[in-house]
Amino acid sequence: MRRALSVIVENQHGVLSRVVGLFSGRGYNIDSLTVAPIAGTEFSRINIITSGDEAVFEQITKQLHKLISTYKVFEDCEFVERECVLVKINIDQNLAGLDSLLKGYNGTIAHSNDEYMTICVNDTSDRVDNFLKTIKKYNPKDCARSGVVLMEN
């Protein structure tokens, strides 16, 4: 089962590896991970998407709480969730329909040159998955996902 976690920690060196170590130490997978400082505070926010059973997940959240550097753990709450994806496609091919696809997904052209166009979509992970499926027909050259950013609402 997919799990979303948002952890507020002290913004200090070594903290991220402590958090990640809790997952690796239990052989638990991290599907996505994003980290950034929270402006104007001494804290950082670490967003983690993982999957697993109830018991292990409960231990992970308790252990996260237990870390000396952890301030707050948000889990299993209603999150606003966004993920960004960049896709690079060759402009030589037939790009019919791309416009409306971008419109449907609130996408933009982030960059282009005489060879490639890089498009950007910002949405929930599910919708980013769908977008990536659809965009396949334009033979994307490369793609980069950001990992999920979360905020409890």
């Binding site: 920690v9 308790k62 000396i68 952890t70």
Partner: protein
């Protein structure tokens, strides 16, 4: 303005540190130069850094204070890992200071550089890599606070060499104020009320006493509770001494090598109140069969412990002593009548007395040796190593006080006992310090005998010598068809008598009861550290025994019951 090295010494002094255990080296030179100049506390030069960590650990267990160790970077630090992990597994307060290469060299694979905080991370309560001189006083203060508060544990501070040389302002904080760390000591009153009603309804309530009762100094509160309510109690290896040995409500140790009565009590109780215990697999056996008929109350300062293995019906986060006193307040008007439950337990006890063994006059039995020591020196401070001898000590020595036993419970670290005994000897000046080891374990950190001699500290070491890695041999006997793979030490032993003498110790090798008693009295008289190599029966097993993974009521019991453990 003072140097970082001096700040370390000042902080240790302000924390009331009496003794630190350590070993110098290049990156630690500034610290050692400062140690040389001060007289506020003693530095003990161990002979191996693992010894420093175990000695700090032994000191902490016996004294209840924070143990401190200082080592150099690279190999100095890596040698302490087993000791840190040992302290972590048993929640022992410790501050380990390791030197690190200079900040400018970190990350360059410099001589004796290792990612120390990266290596200690999974086995410390918290760790610091000090990057600036400004943060050093705060880090030192926090380290001691974190080590001793909440669920205690080891804290590691890695300090680069340049930080120990440069000067800064030393303002030692008077308090710690961390937004992210605030342990809960007071139990939730509503949960305690709920538990109180369950307790008053219970027909077969049982306390389950763990090491947390010792680290939180809750023995007094628990004894009061037991006296008033008459609720019987089992304990773990780490909980020995919380109740007096012959307290009528003390059902003694439970678990893999626990008594029949204790394990049956766990299996039959209808309310199990866990106090600072963590449901280790050595206690629970097969978890689906564990305390199957009972509602579970789990009291622990560490929320991650609660419901980790066995789901708790009454989860209470808090200090054991505080919670049990609150619980007593709730039930103190109530008249408990548990006589039926007690008679059930008495019946179990008469069936298979806890603990029993078959004595012999031909060959020394380890249980007899331990009993004899308990008779002659009932108030000795006991240290054990790991193996059969450890379990026999737990079963047969009569512990009447907390902090009388130092043993590696959670990690089961062989080589623990000699250095730990060194630490205990510093905590308990002029008291009898008695170390029981196996012939295998004794060799693992034997170099610390030299430290004991150098420091003029006296420890009586008893090697229960079966010329086997006995505990492993026992499993091979029972579960591997007597294939004694790499456990037979017969004819491949050092002459322990001569070896001990070369370290400046008094030594004896004994084979009979008379010889043992004589040697033991000699040791008590001697001012030196002593070693008695006791030749014991080779194939003695620790019983009862619950095979790994079996339910704890499925015990392999002693066959013949001739000698009952005498009062």
């Amino acid at each position: 303005m003072i140097t970082g090295a001096k700040m370390i010494c000042e902080a240790l002094k302000l924390e009331g540190v009496e003794v630190v255990f350590g070993y110098p080296g290049g990156a630690a030179l500034n610290i050692y130069d400062e140690l040389y100049k001060q007289n506020d506390f003693k530095h003990v030069l161990v002979r191996h850094e693992q010894g420093a960590a175990h000695a700090a650990d032994g000191y902490a267990r016996a004294s209840g204070k924070v143990g401190v160790a200082i080592v150099t970077s690279g190999p100095g630090f890596t040698n302490t890992l087993t000791g840190i992990a040992t302290a972590y597994a048993d929640s022992i307060p410790m501050v380990l200071i390791s030197a690190q290469v200079a900040n400018s060299l970190i990350g360059t694979d410099a001589f004796q550089e290792i990612d120390a905080v990266g290596m200690s991370r999974p086995c410390v309560k918290h760790s610091y890599l000090v990057k600036t001189i400004e943060e050093l006083p705060r880090v030192l203060k926090e380290a001691f606070f974190i080590a001793r508060s909440g669920r205690p544990g080891p804290v590691h501070i890695d300090i680069p060499k340049d930080i120990t040389a440069i000067k800064g302002e030393f303002k030692y904080p008077s308090e710690v104020n961390m937004k992210t760390y605030k342990p809960t000591y007071k139990g939730n009153p509503r949960q305690i009320k709920r538990l109180a009603s369950a307790l008053m309804e219970a027909k077969k309530p049982l306390l389950y006493i763990g090491g947390g009762c010792i680290s939180s100094n809750s023995s007094e509160a628990i004894r009061k509770f037991v006296e008033k309510t008459k609720v019987p109690a089992v304990c773990t290896l780490m909980g020995l001494g919380v109740l007096e040995h012959d307290n009528p409500y003390n059902l003694r140790m439970a678990g893999m090598h626990g008594s029949y009565r204790a394990n049956m009590a766990m299996s039959e109780c209808d309310l199990l109140i866990s106090l600072g215990a963590r449901f280790d697999d050595r206690i629970t056996g097969k978890t689906s069969e564990f305390a199957k008929l009972a509602k579970i109350a789990h009291i622990d300062i560490d929320p991650t412990s609660i419901s980790k293995i066995i789901k708790a019906d009454f989860p209470i986060v808090g200090d054991v002593g505080s919670v049990i006193s609150d619980l007593l307040d709730e039930v103190k008007e109530f008249e408990f009548d548990l006589s039926t439950w007690h008679s059930v337990l008495d019946r179990h006890e008469s069936l298979y007395p806890s603990f029993s063994y078959e004595d012999s006059d031909e060959i020394l039995k380890p249980q007899w040796v331990i009993n004899e020591c308990a008779k002659i020196t009932p108030n000795a401070n006991i240290i054990t190593d790991v193996g059969q001898h450890q379990m026999w000590v737990a079963q047969f020595f009569k512990f009447n006080e907390p902090r009388r036993l130092s043993t590696s419970g959670g990690l089961g670290t062989m080589g623990y006992s000699i250095p730990a005994a060194l630490g205990v000897a510093f905590a308990k000046n002029n008291e009898v310090v008695l170390n029981f080891a196996g012939d295998g374990s004794f060799l693992m950190n034997i170099q610390e005998l030299m430290t004991l001699t150098a420091e003029r500290k006296k420890v009586i070491n008893i090697i229960l010598n079966n010329a086997y890695l006995g505990m492993v041999r026992q499993w091979q006997t029972r579960f591997y068809n007597e294939r004694y793979s790499e456990t037979n030490l017969e004819d491949v032993q050092p002459d322990y008598e001569m070896l001990a003498r070369s370290f400046g110790c008094d030594s004896f090798r004994v084979k009979s009861k008379d010889e043992f008693i004589k040697a033991y009295h000699e040791c008590l008289k001697s001012p030196r550290t002593c070693v008695i190599d006791v030749v014991i029966s080779r194939f003695e097993d620790v019983l009862p025994m619950v095979p790994a993974g079996a339910a704890i009521y499925n015990m392999i019991l002693p066959q013949k019951l001739i000698t009952k453990d005498s009062k």
